[in-house]
């Protein structure tokens, strides 16, 4: 009896120590399974590798850890040395990267400056350079382990941007669309479209943290409920993108754990500031203020999303702004103030509870992507209704209709979320609100020259700290001065896995998720 109690106590102790997937291996950890059982099956939300060029198989947007970039993205959204050990801006639009030595590709070829040059040329040729202003011939070999990258226009954020998986370093003479050959902890095994991607451990991996799993199989399951059912039946060990409304239920199941990722994308509301009639109501800053104050982001995070999200002050995840994140002022909802503002501007509540002025109702057209969960949209709709604002939701049935809608300008409010895929602190403001990135959206959303000026400074800041500061100031103007965008919460990105999967730490950026520390234990 006592032995049994002791055994139970030991098991409980082991469970308590190793049960939380975010622990580092240095603490007391549960017993790993023998090597031939170190396999993991992951359910992802669909086969994302079927694109026109298919050049990012296993690389992006789902990162199977086959390939690596010169600069890595840490859990704190800060750039970290990866295949490059150092980088400096040497002037004349040039960054010099010093490369890591003694690294080999999966096919044994050496990793060197020539390999970097080849990879950069490939990205340029495929036109996937993503606002970095990298062009043909930008990458030059200086010596075996030094590369210069010269951009066609001044771009001081190159080092941060180059942490995006697009800039993965691939081996020369290989075709990434068929079989990516890179330097990562796992190597390409096989790929069956709409079915699975299999990667195997790279035993010759250069990193100090060696991969522990022998094989990872990524299964493509687009239906969220089916992913969850597959997890419950044991056919998969880990799944991505659990709906926040299901997290409490999954937490309650024995043998399963829920692992929400730190903030990596922000759910925000972009406003149409330059629309043509009838989408002119938001040109009054007091109406924008009132709208902003009637949203209750905390209620969204805690009630609707069961505590799986946090209120965020700006449109970028705070971590990417580093210490400057505090420069973005946060707001508390204030329904009374919102109503006062609207009354002061002449908007009186009608009999149906919606405000009107000079015979016109305070009706805003809200758009969103088709896959934005419909219930949460209705939650937000109900919130602003309390202030007398009628938010008419027009969910687009697919991505093409959504783009067409946005480009047409026939909307007032866009509920969306944007991913922070690299260490560039000004990435999101520059892409979606900056007038020099000229497209239909920015023409409608741009909040003016003060914002543009700060983005300019962020883009041309010589060091990351200044860039972060300027980015934070730009976001502050966007959100708190011009009220051109309303930040709500981070986008809840939730993983769920069996308790016998240990060492899994969700990365805030989905396409930088590392699999090296993950291993299987003997627990059921």
């Amino acid at each position: 009896m006592r032995v049994r109690v002791a055994a139970v106590a030991l098991v409980l102790l082991a469970a308590a120590c190793g049960g939380n997937g975010s622990e580092s291996p240095s603490q007391a950890e549960p017993t790993p399974l023998p090597d031939d059982q170190q396999t993991l099956t992951v359910a992802t939300p669909g086969d994302v590798f079927i694109t026109r060029d298919r050049i990012f198989l296993g690389i992006w947007p789902d990162n199977a850890n086959i390939c690596e970039t010169l600069v890595g993205l840490g859990y704190d959204f800060q750039p970290t040395p990866l295949l490059a050990t150092r980088w400096t801006y040497t002037g004349n639009n040039t960054f010099r990267f010093e490369l890591r030595r003694d690294v080999r590709f999966h096919n044994g070829a050496p990793f060197n400056a020539e390999a970097v040059r080849h990879s950069v040329e490939r990205v340029v040729e495929k036109r996937q350079t993503l606002n970095t202003f990298v062009g043909a011939g930008s990458a030059k070999v200086v010596d075996e382990f030094t590369v210069d990258i010269t951009t066609t226009q001044t771009n001081l954020r190159l080092a941060e941007q180059i942490s995006h998986p697009f800039f993965s370093i691939v081996a020369a003479g290989t075709d990434p669309a068929e079989r990516p050959v890179c330097t990562g902890p796992f190597q390409f095994g096989s790929y069956s479209p709409n079915d699975r991607l299999v990667v195997n451990r790279n035993d010759a991996y250069w990193g100090s943290e060696k991969p522990r799993l022998r094989q990872i199989t990524f299964r493509f399951i687009s239906d969220q409920n089916t992913r969850r059912l597959a997890l419950e039946s044991g056919e998969v060990d880990l799944m991505w993108f659990l709906a926040p409304q299901q997290s409490a239920d999954v937490r309650g199941r024995p043998g399963l754990e829920v692992a929400p990722a730190p903030p990596g994308a922000v759910v925000d509301i972009s406003l149409n500031l330059h629309g043509a009639a009838p989408h002119t109501l938001l040109q009054d800053i007091d109406v924008r203020r009132a709208l902003g104050m009637s949203f209750d982001a905390r209620a969204l995070a805690e009630q609707q999303w069961q505590g799986n999200a946090q209120v965020v002050a700006g449109v970028s995840p705070p971590a990417v702004l580093g210490p400057a994140a505090s420069l973005v002022g946060s707001r508390t909802p204030n329904l009374a103030e919102a109503e006062r503002l609207l009354e002061a501007r002449g908007w009186r509540k009608g009999s149906d509870g919606i405000r009107e002025k000079e015979g016109r109702k305070l009706s805003l057209v809200g758009v969103s992507q088709f896959d934005f969960e419909p219930e949460s949209l209705q939650f937000l709709q109900a919130q602003v209704r309390r202030a007398g604002i009628d938010l008419r939701l027009e969910r687009a049935p697919d991505a093409a209709a959504y783009s067409a809608k946005i480009n047409s300008g026939a909307w007032d409010v866009d509920v969306n979320y944007f991913n922070q895929n690299d260490a560039n602190p000004v990435r999101i403001p520059a892409q979606f609100w900056y007038s020099k990135v000229a497209n239909a959206r920015t023409r409608l959303t741009n909040p003016g020259p003060k914002f543009d000026g700060l983005v300019d400074e962020a883009l041309s800041a010589p060091d990351l700290t200044t860039a972060q500061r300027k980015a934070a100031e730009a976001i502050n103007v966007l959100v708190n001065e011009e009220w051109a965008a309303i930040a709500l919460t981070n986008f809840p990105q939730i993983y769920a896995h069996r308790t016998n999967v240990a060492g899994f730490r969700p990365h805030p950026s989905v396409n930088h998720q590392p699999w090296t520390g993950v291993f299987r234990t003997g627990r059921p």
């Binding site: 399951i221 687009s222 239906d223 409920n225 059912l229 039946s233 991505a399 093409a400 209709a401 067409a404």
Partner: protein
């Protein structure tokens, strides 16, 4: 006979032409820019105006509409349906990959529906107006009118998660086939049950059956030998039609079970504004439908001369 066949063949070709024009017209009218869809998918961010212009040129969507249509038609006649804009593979390849999977699923579902529906219909007919009759009819109808994703989740939860009898999702083995086929079979099974019941009832009331019964042939022998054989003809036709519908693919079942088939391909292609793929799929489905109709029409015309005469008026 040959004149009739030739006439019907011409009408099939005309209909196919009409189908391609209709599909093209709907594509032109649909909101959204295919170039933008392709680029957003590859880049993960909104494209710039220059990138859009370049892609439109690459896809050929900047040419005048009649030129685009005729160019596609010229290729189609040669058997070249172009490349899928979003998937980057030839349209034929994208479809050929999925057609066998859909065919297997459709045939299995059709077969299951026969196994499920016909016995129910026969039993209901022989015990007409009894409790068994009413309950089985209502039950069959009810089961078939539940939303298919609901049935799918329910079956998965019971048989895959709770009982671990079959896999939850995926394709490739007979075990993977069971749940999706059952889910798809429920609708046609209910239709078959109703038709079987009414046809058997009808045949049972026919003179020759009553004569046989009066001659003293045993009850069940009467049923099985005379009635069922005659009842099966229309029933088999219905089953054949169900296969036709099922071959179109069922989107929800394919997505829930992660069974990548033609239904998912078709809807994805439409949502992606991937017009070569949409045209290819629609043309394929329309050809199958029209050719099957043609073959059936010709065989009846061969058997029943009056049809050929009637056909002249139509």
């Amino acid at each position: 006979m040959t004149r009739y066949a030739a006439r019907r063949l011409i009408s099939v070709v005309l209909a196919l032409l009409g189908v391609t024009v209709l599909t093209f017209a709907l594509g032109v009218l649909a909101p959204g820019d295919p170039a933008e869809v392709v680029l957003s998918r590859s880049l993960g961010q909104p494209p710039t105006d220059e990138q859009l212009a370049a892609m439109r040129h690459e896809l050929g969507t900047d040419r005048p509409l009649p030129v685009q249509y005729l160019h596609w038609l010229a290729g189609a006649v040669r058997g070249d349906f172009g490349d899928s804009w979003v998937r980057g593979v030839r349209v034929q390849d994208a479809m050929v990959e999925r057609i066998p999977r859909t065919v297997i699923l459709a045939l299995s579902a059709a077969g299951l529906s026969l196994l499920m529906g016909i016995p129910v219909g026969v039993v209901a007919a022989t015990r007409r107006d009894s409790i068994v009759d009413h309950v089985s009819r209502a039950g069959a109808l009810f089961g078939a009118s539940l939303p298919s994703f609901f049935t799918a989740y329910l079956l998965i939860y019971l048989f895959a998660v709770k009982f671990r009898a079959v896999p939850v999702f995926g394709f490739g083995s007979a075990a993977h086939l069971v749940l999706p086929a059952v889910t798809l079979a429920l609708g046609p099974a209910a239709v078959l049950a109703r038709f079987t019941r009414s046809t058997v009832l009808e045949v049972l009331g026919e003179d020759y059956v009553r004569t046989a019964a009066a001659k003293g042939v045993r009850g069940s022998a009467v049923l099985f030998r005379h009635a069922l054989r005659n009842a099966l003809i229309p029933v088999v036709t219905i089953a054949g039609l169900s296969v036709g519908h099922l071959l179109g693919g069922s989107l929800i079942v394919e997505r829930v079970f992660a069974w990548p088939g033609m239904g998912d391909l078709a809807v994805s292609a439409i949502q992606d504004r991937d017009y070569p793929l949409v045209q290819g799929f629609v043309l394929f489905a329309a050809t199958v439908y029209l050719v099957v109709n043609l073959v059936v029409d010709l065989s009846y015309a061969y058997l029943d001369p009056r049809v050929r005469l009637e056909g002249r008026q139509g």
